[in-house]
C-alpha cells in the first residue's frame, strides 16, 4: 500500500496547486461583481483543505516516484480534478447534477469542449472564464504545469510528463532538465495564448471574450461563452484569426519551443508531421468548399470557403467551434470532418485523437509490408523525415490502434444499447474520445449533450478521459500486472 500513499501525497499537492488557480476566476468575479462571486470561496476552501489534508496525512511516506506510479498518479489526477473543478459550477447552479457538472469539467480539462449547459450568454462572466481556464490548463497538461512550478517531483517528473503528453515518441528531451522543459513549454504556450487574445481583441471581441476564447482556442478545447459559438460574432475576420491560431496550436509545442529557442523557422521545416497536418487540413478545406458549392449549400464559392474552412479547421484540430450548424450539410462533409478529427492534430500539440504521426507511421508500415512481400530479404526501416523509427514504436502504434478501435466499438455499442441512434452514438464517442466536442444529430453543433441520460454522460466522461491520456496510461492501471508486488 506504500506506493499508493506516495501517489496520494503527490495527488494532494496537485490538488492544492489546482485549487490555487481558482483565485483567478474569483478575481474576475470580483471585478465584474457577478452572481457567482460566492461560489468560489467555498470551492476554494474545500479544494485546498482536501488537497492539504491528503498531502499532510501521507507526508511520512514521501519518496521518489517510480515508473509505475506515474500512470496511477496521472490517471488519478485526471479523474479527481474535474470533481473539484465542478464545485463552483454546482454552487452557482444548484439545479446542475453532479454527473453533468463533472462531465462539463471533464470536457473542459480534456479540451473536448462538449457542453451540457445552455444559455451560456446569461452565465456570470467568471463561470465562463472558469470554463475557458479549465481548458487552457488541461491543454498543456496539469502535471506538466505542476512539474514546471514545483520542481520537487524530481526524477519522477519525466515519467509523469511522458504519461500525460500525447504522441508515440516522447523521448525528445528539449532541455537536459525536465523542469526546464516543462517551464519552456508553458511559457511558449502562454506566449502564443497572449498573442491570440490580443488578436481577438483587435478583431472586435470584448476583452473578456477575447481571453476566454484565446484559452479555448490555444488548448483546442472549443468552449465558447456564447450558445451560438462563433456564429454569435458572424465576423470573417475573427474566424480567420481563430483558424490561424487553431492551426498553430495543432502543431507540436516542442517544435514551437525549438523554433523559439533557435529564433529560426528551421524546426518547422524539419517537422514532417506538422507539414502533413497543415497540408491535409488545408486541402480538406478547399475540397469541402468545392463540394458545398457544387451541392448548392452556399450560392458562391467564397461563402462556401468561409464556412467550410472554419468548421473544418475547428473540427480537424479537435477544437469544436462552429459558426453554422454543419449537421445540416450533406452527410459527406460532416463525416469527413469527423474523420479528420481522429488523426489530424500533431503529437505534442493540445489536440486529441490518434495524432498525425501515428497515421503516418501506420501508412509507412503498410508500405513496408508491401515492399517486404516483393523483396523478402529487404531491410526496410520505417523512416519519418530522415529519422528511423524503432520497431518498438511501430508496434506500440499498432497496439494503440487496436485498443483505440476496440474502445470506440465498445463505447458505441454501449451507447446504442442505451437507446441512441447510430450516428449520434458513433459521432458522440468519436467526438469525446478525440476530445473534439460536437458530434452529429442529437449531439450536433446546434444542440448540447444535455439530452443524454446519466449513464451515457458518465460513459462519455470516461471516453474523454481515456482519449486525453491516450488509452495506455489509464488502461495500464487496470491490469493485474500493475498491482502485482
Amino acid at each position: 500500500m506504500r506506493r499508493v500513499t506516495v501517489v496520494l501525497n503527490v495527488l494532494g499537492l496537485v490538488i492544492m496547486v489546482f485549487g490555487a488557480t481558482m483565485f483567478l476566476p474569483l478575481a474576475v468575479a470580483w471585478i465584474h461583481r457577478d452572481a457567482a462571486l460566492t461560489a468560489y470561496d467555498a470551492a476554494l476552501v474545500i479544494t485546498l483543505s482536501c488537497g492539504g489534508l491528503m498531502w499532510f496525512v501521507t507526508l511520512r511516506s514521501r519518496s521518489e516516484l517510480q515508473v509505475r506510479d506515474g500512470f496511477l498518479l496521472v490517471t488519478l489526477v485526471w479523474s479527481v480534478i474535474p470533481a473539484f473543478a465542478a464545485l463552483p459550477l454546482m454552487f452557482h447552479l444548484p439545479g446542475l447534477s453532479f454527473t453533468d457538472a463533472y462531465f462539463e469539467c471533464m470536457a473542459g480539462l480534456t479540451t473536448t469542449g462538449s457542453t451540457v449547459l445552455s444559455g451560456l450568454d446569461h452565465l456570470p462572466p467568471s463561470i465562463n472564464f472558469w470554463r475557458g481556464m479549465l481548458q487552457w490548463l488541461g491543454g498543456m497538461g496539469i502535471i506538466v504545469l505542476v512539474v514546471a512550478v514545483l520542481p520537487l517531483l524530481g526524477v519522477g517528473g519525466r515519467q509523469l510528463y511522458k504519461a500525460e503528453t500525447p504522441g508515440p515518441m516522447k523521448d525528445a528531451k528539449l532541455t537536459p532538465r525536465m523542469t526546464e522543459t516543462a517551464k519552456g513549454l508553458w511559457l511558449v504556450y502562454a506566449g502564443i495564448t497572449l498573442a491570440c487574445a490580443l488578436s481577438y481583441w483587435a478583431a472586435g471581441m470584448t476583452l473578456l471574450d477575447a481571453v476566454i476564447h484565446s484559452f479555448s482556442t490555444m488548448s483546442l478545447g472549443g468552449f465558447s461563452s456564447h450558445d451560438r459559438s462563433f456564429g454569435y460574432y458572424n465576423s470573417p475576420l475573427i474566424e480567420t484569426v481563430s483558424s490561424i491560431f487553431m492551426l498553430i496550436a495543432g502543431v507540436n509545442f516542442a517544435t514551437h519551443f525549438l523554433a523559439w529557442r533557435q529564433r529560426s523557422p528551421a524546426p518547422y521545416r524539419r517537422d514532417v508531421e506538422a507539414s502533413m497536418f497543415v497540408l491535409i487540413v488545408l486541402a480538406s478545406c478547399f475540397m469541402l468548399a468545392i463540394y458545398l458549392k457544387a451541392r448548392g449549400v452556399y450560392p458562391d464559392f467564397l461563402t462556401a470557403l468561409r464556412y467550410a474552412s472554419f468548421n473544418t479547421v475547428s473540427i480537424a484540430t479537435t477544437t469544436g467551434y462552429a459558426n453554422t450548424d454543419f449537421n445540416q450539410w450533406p452527410a459527406f462533409a460532416p463525416l469527413w470532418m469527423l474523420f479528420l478529427c481522429c488523426f489530424a492534430s500533431c503529437s505534442g500539440s493540445t489536440g486529441g485523437g490518434i495524432k498525425m504521426v501515428r497515421g503516418q507511421l501506420l501508412f509507412l508500415q503498410g508500405l513496408r509490408e508491401m515492399v517486404r512481400l516483393i523483396h523478402p530479404q529487404a531491410q526496410v526501416p520505417v523512416k519519418l523525415g530522415n529519422q528511423v523509427v524503432p520497431n518498438r514504436i511501430v508496434f506500440a502504434v499498432l497496439a494503440f490502434m487496436s485498443l483505440y478501435g476496440a474502445s470506440v466499438t465498445t463505447l458505441t455499442f454501449l451507447l446504442l444499447a442505451s437507446g441512441l441512434d447510430f450516428v449520434t452514438a458513433l459521432s458522440a464517442v468519436l467526438a469525446c474520445i478525440n476530445n473534439t466536442g460536437p458530434g452529429l444529430n442529437q449531439v450536433g453543433p446546434a444542440t448540447t449533450y444535455e439530452s443524454l441520460n446519466d449513464f451515457e454522460t458518465w460513459l462519455l466522461s470516461i471516453a474523454m478521459l481515456i482519449g486525453r491520456l491516450e488509452l495506455f496510461t489509464v488502461f495500464v492501471v487496470f491490469t493485474p500486472a500493475f498491482w502485482r508486488k
Binding site: 515492399v371 530479404q377 529487404a378 531491410q379
Partner: protein, 495 residues
C-alpha cells in the same frame, strides 16, 4: 587533383629544395591494407621506410617481404614515433584504422619532430567537413586522404561512363584520362589515329594503346584494332563525344546493384541513389539495418552476395551494373562471376590481391579495381620530385599519368618556352594536355582548383608550354618517371 577537395597540401616549393637528390625518410603508421601497399610502392622507389603498428604479426609479414624497418607500438605515442625515427623523417603517413590516432600522430609530428609533410587518412565525413581542424595550428594535417572516398568517386565515374575501363581526372576535374576497349563497330576501329583529328568537337589525344597487354606508342598512322585498350586525354566535357568515336555507346546505366555494404559500398550507394535505382546487399544484419537507416532511396537487402537465389529474386539480369565491394576478394570474384553469368551487363569487382587482379582482368569480370592502386596516386604525388600535383597509377602500377607544373623560364627550364616536339621526353612518355590560366595576371597555384579562368589545351606537336602550365604526362613505363620529373625541375635558385 580530383578528390573532392578532401585534401590539403604542403608547401611544395619548400620541399623541392629540401629533398633534392636525397632519398625520402618516410614513417608509415599502420600496416593495414593501405599501409602495406603504400610501403610496397614506396620501397621500390628507393626510400627509407619505417612502418609502425601494434600488431607484430603484420609487421613480421611486411618485413619478410620488403626492405624496411618496423616498430611495434601505439602510433600516437611520442616515444614510439621517436623510435621510428621521426626526428629526421621527411614525411609521416598516418594510415592506422583510427582517424583520431592518425590526427594525433600528425600533431605530434608537427610539434615534437617538426616533420615537414604530414598526411593522415581520415574516414569520418564529420572531420572532413571541417577543414579548419587540419590547419597547422590545430591538428597540422597537410593532406587528409580518404581512400574509400577516392574509390567511390572512381566507381561513380565508371558508372557514369559505362563504356570506359577507367576514368581519371586531372587539374581539378577539367581534364580526364579515359581508358576504353575498342570494339568492332566503333567508328575509329580499323582507322588510323589521324582520323580523330577530322572529327569536329572531339579534340583529344590518344596517350597510349595497349594491345595484348603490351604498350604501343601511338603515332598518327597507328591503326586501332578491336580489343585494344585505348587511353585518351580530353577535356572532361568532351569525353562522351570521344567515346562515341571509339565504340558504339551502351545504353546509359539505370539500375545498379552493390554487393557489400562496407565503407565503400555505403558511400557508393549514397552517391548513386539519387541518380540510379540502387540495390545493396549486406551480409551482416545489424549493418544492413544501419545502412537502411542511412540510405534514403536504396533498397537494402540482408543476405549473402554469393547467394544465387537472392540475386535471381532481386532480378540481377535486369541490372546494368553489378559492383562487388565486400572485404573479401574471393567473395567479390565469385559473386561477380555469378552475376555476370546470370546476365548482368557489366560487373565491377573490388580486388585487393594483385595476383587476383591479373587473374580476372580481361576475363569475365569487366573491371577489377585494386583499392591500393586507386589510392596510391594521391600519396605518390607527395613523394615525387618536381612540382607534381597529381599522380595516377595505371595498369597495376606499370604505367603512370602525372600532372606536373612547369616552372621557370626558357633558360632555367627544359620545358618552358619549348614546343611539345622539342621536349626531350623519354621513350613511351607523351604529353597529353595542358591546363593554362586564361588571364595571365596570377600564377595557378598547385592546389588551386581550375575554374572557368582555366582552359584545357590538348597538346599537339607544335603547342608551346608556358610557365605555370599544368602539364599532363602519360608514362607507359614507370621506370622512366624519374626522367620526366627531372625534366620539369628547375634550378633551386629559381625559388
Amino acid at each position: 587533383m580530383p578528390h573532392n577537395g578532401f585534401w590539403l597540401r604542403a608547401c611544395k616549393e619548400h620541399r623541392i629544395a629540401l629533398f633534392e637528390g636525397t632519398d625520402l625518410k618516410i614513417v608509415i603508421l599502420g600496416a593495414g591494407q593501405v599501409g602495406s601497399s603504400v610501403a610496397e610502392n614506396l620501397v621500390s622507389e628507393a626510400n627509407d621506410i619505417t612502418v609502425v603498428d601494434i600488431d607484430p604479426a603484420r609487421l613480421r609479414r611486411l618485413q619478410d617481404r620488403l626492405d624496411l624497418r618496423t616498430v611495434r607500438g601505439n602510433a600516437a605515442h611520442p616515444a614510439i614515433l621517436a623510435q621510428a625515427g621521426a626526428a629526421d623523417a621527411d614525411m609521416i603517413l598516418g594510415v592506422t584504422q583510427s582517424d583520431e590516432t592518425n590526427m594525433v600522430a600528425c600533431k605530434l609530428a608537427a610539434t615534437m619532430f617538426n616533420i615537414p609533410t604530414k598526411i593522415a587518412r581520415i574516414r569520418s565525413a564529420d572531420y572532413l567537413s571541417h577543414p579548419e581542424i587540419f590547419a597547422p595550428e590545430n591538428f597540422a594535417v597537410d593532406l587528409a586522404i580518404c581512400p574509400e572516398q577516392v574509390i567511390t568517386d572512381y566507381i561513380v565515374k565508371l558508372i557514369e561512363f559505362p563504356e570506359s575501363l577507367q576514368v581519371l581526372e586531372f587539374a581539378g576535374g577539367k581534364v580526364s584520362l579515359v581508358a576504353v576497349r575498342a570494339f568492332h563497330g566503333g567508328p575509329l576501329v580499323g582507322h588510323e589515329l589521324q582520323y580523330l583529328r577530322r572529327v569536329p568537337q572531339t579534340d583529344t589525344r590518344v596517350a597510349a594503346i595497349f594491345r595484348h597487354d603490351s604498350p604501343i606508342i601511338p603515332e598518327g598512322n597507328t591503326v586501332v584494332e578491336a580489343g585494344d585498350e585505348v587511353f585518351f586525354i580530353a577535356a572532361t566535357e568532351d569525353i562522351r563525344g570521344v567515346l562515341r568515336e571509339l565504340r558504339r555507346m551502351d545504353r546509359p546505366v539505370k539500375r545498379v546493384m552493390i554487393g557489400g555494404g562496407g565503407n565503400i559500398g555505403r558511400r557508393l550507394a549514397g552517391a548513386l541513389e539519387n541518380h540510379y535505382q540502387v540495390k545493396i546487399i549486406e551480409f551482416n544484419k545489424t549493418h544492413a539495418e544501419l545502412l537502411s537507416a542511412e540510405l534514403n532511396k536504396s533498397l537494402v537487402l540482408a543476405g549473402d552476395v554469393t547467394d544465387e537465389e537472392l540475386l535471381e529474386a532481386e532480378n540481377i539480369r535486369e541490372m546494368d551494373v553489378y559492383c562487388a565491394l565486400t572485404n573479401d576478394d574471393e567473395n567479390n570474384i565469385m559473386s561477380s562471376l555469378l552475376a555476370k553469368r546470370m546476365g548482368v551487363r557489366k560487373v565491377i569487382a573490388l580486388i585487393n590481391r594483385s595476383s587476383y587482379v591479373d587473374l580476372v582482368q580481361s576475363g569475365q569480370i569487366d573491371i577489377a579495381i585494386s583499392p591500393a592502386q586507386a589510392t596510391i596516386g594521391t600519396l605518390l604525388a607527395q613523394v615525387r620530385r618536381g612540382d607534381c600535383v597529381a599522380v595516377h597509377s595505371l595498369r597495376r602500377g606499370a604505367a603512370e599519368a602525372l600532372e606536373l607544373v612547369a616552372h621557370g623560364e626558357p633558360k632555367s627550364s627544359k620545358v618552358v618556352g619549348r614546343r611539345v616536339e622539342e621536349i626531350n621526353l623519354p621513350k613511351g612518355a607523351t604529353i597529353g594536355a595542358i591546363v593554362r590560366r586564361r588571364d595571365r595576371g596570377g600564377i595557378m597555384r598547385g592546389n588551386g582548383k581550375p575554374d572557368d579562368e582555366h582552359q584545357v589545351i590538348i597538346a599537339h606537336h607544335d603547342t608551346v608550354i608556358e610557365s605555370d602550365d599544368h602539364v599532363i604526362v602519360f608514362v607507359v613505363d614507370k621506370r622512366t618517371v624519374p626522367k620526366v620529373e627531372k625534366l620539369f625541375q628547375v634550378d633551386i635558385g629559381f625559388f
